[in-house]
C-alpha cells in the first residue's frame, strides 16, 4: 500500500513540474492561467492523498477549502481579460 501511494505522489509531482514549465514558457496570459488551474486541481488531489498518508481526518478540510475557493482567481482573471470586470 505504501508503494502505491509513493508512486501516485511521484506522478503528481511530475505533473506539477510540467505545468510549471508551461507557466514559465507560455506565450500569453491564458496559457499561464490554464497552468495555474491545473496546478490547483493537482494540489487539491495531493492534499487529500497526504491526509490519507497522515491518517488524520481533520486534514482533509484544507483540500475542501481549495476545492471551493480555487476557481475564483481564474474567473477573476478571465473576466479581466474579457474586459468586463
Amino acid at each position: 500500500m505504501t508503494t502505491i501511494i509513493y508512486i501516485a505522489l511521484i506522478l503528481m509531482a511530475f505533473g506539477m513540474l510540467l505545468s510549471f514549465i508551461r507557466f514559465v514558457k507560455g506565450p500569453n496570459t491564458a496559457d499561464r492561467t490554464v497552468a495555474l488551474d491545473t496546478l490547483t486541481t493537482i494540489g487539491t488531489a495531493a492534499l487529500v492523498l497526504l491526509g490519507y498518508m497522515f491518517h488524520r481526518y481533520i486534514y482533509v478540510d484544507v483540500a475542501l477549502i481549495y476545492a471551493v475557493l480555487g476557481f475564483i482567481g481564474v474567473i477573476v482573471i478571465a473576466r479581466y481579460l474579457e474586459g468586463a470586470l
Binding site: 505522489l9 509531482a13 510549471f20 492561467t33 481533520i58 475557493l69 475564483i72 482567481g73
Partner: protein
Amino acid sequence: MIYFILILFLMILMIAAAIYSVYQKDLMYATIGTGIVSLALSILFYLLQAPDVALTEAAIGAALTTIIFVIAIRNTIRYEGDD
C-alpha cells in the same frame, strides 16, 4: 525519505515562482505567479503538520490576493515602467 523529497520539490517550486514574479515586467503574469507561490506554501505548511496555518493560507492566497491584485491592475497600469 519521501517527505524530504516532497519538501525539497515544493521549496524549489515556490522559490522559482517567487523569483519569476519579482523579475517579471508584466504585472498580470506576476499575479498568477503569486497564486502558485500560495499553493506551494500551503502544501508545505500541510507537510510540516500545521493544518490551521495551511487553511488560512489557502483561503487568503487562492481568492483574496488574486482579486485585490487584479482590481488594482485594472485601475492603474498593467506593464511595469510605462507610466
